[in-house]
């Protein structure tokens, strides 16, 4: 069995590489007029990281697949330790402790935790062979994601911590759980929101009962769902009422930073102005005025797509979301045809992570979703993020490669 590069999915890798290069070009433009010499070298640093990420990608592809499932649990343990450590001794930036400072690079263990949780659930599902509806299977997999999620929520980093339930739900779904059950499982949260006004809550509860009656998911499960819905719906307004307005405001700003009009709310306005003013063909490379005039903060990371939309217009923006969509289609196809369960779960979970970040980030820049601070995979500035995204692609490509081997 010899390794043959020709069998790799080069169309997929090419699309990912194209996005990464577009990212570097846009990062260069976003900092072109910056006063800080350091910021002007962001593009160069990203280029170095891209080289590293590509090496890591090749390493993942060349490694025997066994190595990943064998190391999953160990990696999971290490990631938990790192998350606890970063809370204790990590570097604090803007009130959140997410980074370890390692000389010139700082590194965030949340990315490792994502990978570890993904591999751990994939391995657990692939080898315990419990039925999709087994209570033990649901409970253990939930615990696997809740631990790192809570630690990341404490940093606090809402956006990243939401990636964990996404991995869990994606793998529950992919391993055979009906999507309607997923709806029922998250229903207490919907109940919480609906309970803000009694009439909407009543309508929601009736709908829930009809839904349960038609789905018939088992008595104990149904009762559990109803009790949780009632409890969440009744307690929340009670607690909410007891809070002073400034406390409510802090919670709202935490859940949706766009709520704070001088911070993230302002960013969204500027992002929409930047994209909209780009028009169909864009203002041209290095010609974006919104980015240049410092209107758009975080323009090299979270709002990189706004810079892109302003300078390259609808055409450029469509190329980028088109490349992403192509990548996701390709990845999902690979996940569907993997013979090994572990590989299939890993592929689907990795795709879900990338898709979630893509959807949340672009949705945010277009003003369709709350501001969560998730970067755009492959395109946004950020070394560890780029590296992790490429490793995920490596896992997917490797799974495909091995599929072709057998």
């Amino acid at each position: 069995m010899r390794f043959n590069y020709r069998h790799l999915d080069w169309k997929l890798v090419g699309a990912v590489m194209a996005l990464s290069l577009i990212g570097i070009i846009t990062i260069f433009s976003s900092q072109y007029y910056s006063n800080s010499a350091y910021q002007q070298t962001y593009w160069l640093r990203q280029l170095v990281w891209l080289v590293l990420a590509f090496v890591a990608f090749l390493a993942v592809v060349r490694f025997p697949q066994r190595l990943f499932d064998a190391s999953a649990y160990g990696l999971y343990g290490v990631s938990l330790v790192l998350l606890i450590l970063v809370l204790a001794v990590g570097h604090t930036r803007m009130g959140a402790s997410r980074w370890f400072d390692l000389g010139p690079v700082s590194f965030s263990p949340s990315d490792i935790a994502k990978l570890a949780a993904l591999l751990t659930i994939a391995r657990f599902f692939a080898y315990t062979r419990l039925p999709a509806y087994s209570k033990r299977r649901l409970a253990v997999s939930a615990i696997i994601v809740i631990l790192p999620m809570m630690l990341i929520l404490k940093q606090p980093d809402l956006g990243t911590s939401l990636t964990f339930p996404v991995i869990l739900f994606a793998l529950w779904f992919w391993s055979g759980l009906s999507p309607w059950y997923l709806v029922l499982i998250v229903s207490p949260i919907i109940s919480m929101v609906a309970a803000y006004y009694w009439l909407s809550w009543a309508v929601y509860l009736v709908a829930l009962l009809i839904f349960l009656a038609s789905l018939r998911p088992g008595l104990i499960f149904s009762i559990g769902v109803v009790v949780m819905n009632l409890a969440f719906g009744m307690i929340t307004p009670f607690i909410w009422e007891r809070l002073a307005d400034y406390q409510k405001n802090r919670i709202l700003t935490f859940l949706n930073p766009g709520h704070d009009p001088r911070g993230a709310g302002y960013q969204i306005i500027q992002s929409k102005i930047a994209i909209g003013s780009g028009g169909v063909i864009g203002k041209g490379y290095l010609q974006g005025s919104q980015a240049r005039l410092d209107y758009l903060p975080e323009r090299h990371t979270d709002f990189i797509f706004s810079v892109l939309g302003e300078e390259f217009g609808l055409i450029g923006a469509l190329i980028v979301i088109g490349l992403f969509t192509f990548i996701f289609f390709r990845c999902i196809r690979i996940a569907a045809r993997c013979r090994s369960r572990f590989a299939s779960y890993t592929c689907f979970g990795a795709t879900a992570v990338l898709f979630f970040q893509f959807a949340v980030n672009i949705g945010m820049t277009l003003g369709l979703m709350p501001v969560t601070g998730l970067p755009l995979p492959f395109v946004s500035y950020g070394g560890t993020g780029l590296l992790l995204s490429w490793v995920l692609i490596g896992l997917i490509v490797a799974a495909d490669h091995h599929w072709q081997e057998y």
Partner: protein, 630 residues
Amino acid sequence: MHKTTLSHIGRLQATYVVVTGVFVLFFVGLIKLQIFEHSELATLAENNRIRVVPIEPRRGVVFDRQGRVIVGDRPSYTVSVVPAEERKGLTIPHLAPILDLDTTQIRRRVKRNAASPYQPAPIRRDVPFDAIAVLEEQNSEFPGVNYQLDRVREYSVDLRAEAFTGHVGEVSEQEMERNPQADYRLGSTIGKKGVEKQYDDLLRGVEGTAFIEVTALGEVLGEYKGKERVPPVPGCDLTLSIDNDVQLAAIQALDTQDQKFSNMKLQSDSAPIIHRAGAIVAIDPRTGEILAMTSAPGFDPNTFSGMITDSMWQAISTDPAHPLLNRPLAGLYPPGSTFKLLTLGAGLESGVIDENTTFRPCLGGYQFGNRFFKCWEKRGHGVQNSIHAVEMSCDAYFYQLGLKVGVDQMYRYAMLCGFGKKTGVDLPSELSGLMPSVQYYDKRYGKNGWTKALVLNTAIGQGEVLTTPLQLAQFYCGIANWGTVYKPHLVTKVTHPNGRVDQIEPQVSFQLPFSRSTLAIMREGLRLVVEGGSGTARRLRNNLYSVCGKTGTAQNPHGEDHSWFVGFAPIENPEIVVCALVENAGHGSEVAAPVAKKVIEVYMKKKLGLLEPQQQPEPMAQVGAKELRP
């Protein structure tokens, strides 16, 4: 059962649908922004700017117990400069004389906003209207300058309430760094002291925001239609336990017309009223509610509401009369004879004496080793039991009692009575005072460097021991309330902007370490101080109500003795504890006792329905900056 489970192919197709759906959603979103809203957004990008203007919320109002406004606000104008629109060499030099500031001060304030050059940087609050009229008329002379209607905090000057209201001011950069999660902004008004600081989170409310569209030249086009304004959320209103009549009585009681009690030289003798330095605290012992609190000399908190100039700040902060010292909770004084009640309680409770115990007679003092410790009464008090020792405040008796109790037990009981630690009143910057322990003496004088002689001084409230007027009032609240001490507090009610009202319930803080019989003996001593034939506060006796208390004269190494009185009324069922301290005024019985009496009297007369209709206080300036200083 799981008939709804999707097949493998079904799941694959469902996933494709989701990915395609998101693609279509983003496609539509892009078309909407880049084709349909393109021209509008392009104009915004090229010519106009969105200026984010904060809308200040109404800061909560502070009421007294009768519902009268102690702290409210009034409309005023704030002038700001937008850094990016300011014309160098034109805007700031033109603005400086109008705002009565110098150019460097303005420049410093504009510079602080450098990080967000399109947002207005507040330069000066509470700008007089004629200055605004000039800015309005000669608009073009002031590029980048704008003004808006704001509110400025207004304090009732009559009540001289700054000891507990505190004041507001502009948030400092350190405060912003210390609270990264609070929504402070450069120029935000926050509470700096007192209730304003303690309850800032409740009072402040939540800032709103307006999005104003302006041209590149700074011309305002109106609100930006693309984003709705966020209305501000007003702050909560607070109701304090302060009783207007008692508070007025307290501030008037400290003033005197008798030149003898002035420690300041007067410039002209046509101003007969002398403002004495000191503190008064009145507490309802049944709840811990503070009825009155004052610190003299004080300052005018309105000074800080607008923008305080450096010279004004210099004048207040370096005033030798310390108007910024909040005496009731941050002034540290030896308690003097008022502390003898603690010594008595410790002696009775630890069993070293009973109420009838007598010691060697007082012959004007007590010989300890080779040193003679004087009693305040040079003629001596002879032999007496513990109750009469309190009545006459005989130092010799308490020297001997202190020796029997010892340093350790004195310390233990004092700590259990709340000395040497904060009372936990709902005000910031309270001090804990000092109660010396064996460890303290060891550290200060060396392991064998001190003798029992020190406990003689502690026993009569002299030497190292330091208390705040609030701590003493708290201790006497415990005696008045048969041992149960409620946490002193000011806020009794929080009214939220949505109408919800939170009542703040009284909270038991601790129990005095004394049995009911011990407390009965202590109270009998206090009663005789007023009603006994040789009591030190006989002049408080009256036909209307019963009152008791203890005088104190605290030796002060820096000048004249401080004068103390702590007492309560009515004796049978006490409703008010008053602690009065007059700095450098001499004997407690001569100065502080009559001061406290005026406060107690107003409360009791009011209770009995004998209070004449509201006496208005004579209008007088704060601080006494003009009157007091030569």
